[in-house]
């Protein structure tokens, strides 16, 4: 049981770190603000939830495990809402989405 618990915790945490790595690279490499919002709001929040879920499985049914589940629930609500709020503020302040570079065959403006 304990071995199984450790294996599940390590697998959850490693996949969460992988998602976080992909989210960071997306935030570095994607071309404009709205695509970066895509990387931050979905990939990074699910990576964080997987990491904290691995820690909760490692902790087991204690008070700290319940607090970890509470943090996961709050992050699942708050992180996409914050990304959406930033994107809405960007649209309202006049920032236009990226339509593709014109010399790379993307759709024109």
């Amino acid at each position: 049981m304990s071995i199984l618990q450790e294996v599940v915790a390590i697998v959850l945490f490693a996949s969460g770190v992988l998602f976080m790595l992909v989210g960071s690279l997306g935030l570095l490499r994607l071309p404009d603000f709205f695509t970066r919002t895509h990387a931050s709001g979905k990939v990074d929040s699910v990576g964080m939830m997987l990491c904290l879920g691995g820690l909760a499985v490692h902790e087991g049914p204690t008070l700290s495990g319940v607090k970890l589940l509470l943090v996961i629930a709050f992050v699942a609500v708050s992180s996409p809402v914050a990304a959406h709020a930033l994107a809405r503020a960007a649209v309202r302040s006049g920032l236009r989405p990226w339509r593709g570079a014109p010399d790379e065959g993307g759709p024109d403006r």
């Binding site: 603000f33 700290s64 309202r92």
Partner: protein
């Protein structure tokens, strides 16, 4: 799992650097805010790992919960400020 805490915290600290670059060199102010939000998300996980490393997970979990709340409230408040201004670039 205990032997993995320090290497995983070090790896998370390394992948904290691309959002920090986005905070420093973002073309618009929204890129900077988004990078700050991502840095805050990773800091929550790193503080939980610090709690396990120091053996005081209860205290560091309370810190992580407060940090999550402050991250969300700060992002929404600054969003309200910049959406009411014209072209916050």
């Amino acid at each position: 799992m205990e032997v993995l805490f320090a290497p995983l915290a070090a790896f998370l600290a390394v992948i904290l650097l691309p959002p920090l670059y986005r905070v420093l060199r973002g073309p618009t102010v929204f890129d900077r805010l988004l990078g700050a939000s991502v840095v805050g998300n990773k800091t929550i996980v790193i503080s939980c790992l610090f709690g396990y490393a120091f053996g005081r997970i209860e205290m560091f979990l309370d810190i992580a919960l407060g940090y999550a709340v402050l991250n969300f409230v700060g992002a929404v408040a600054i969003e309200k400020y910049f959406s009411s201004r014209e072209a916050g670039r």
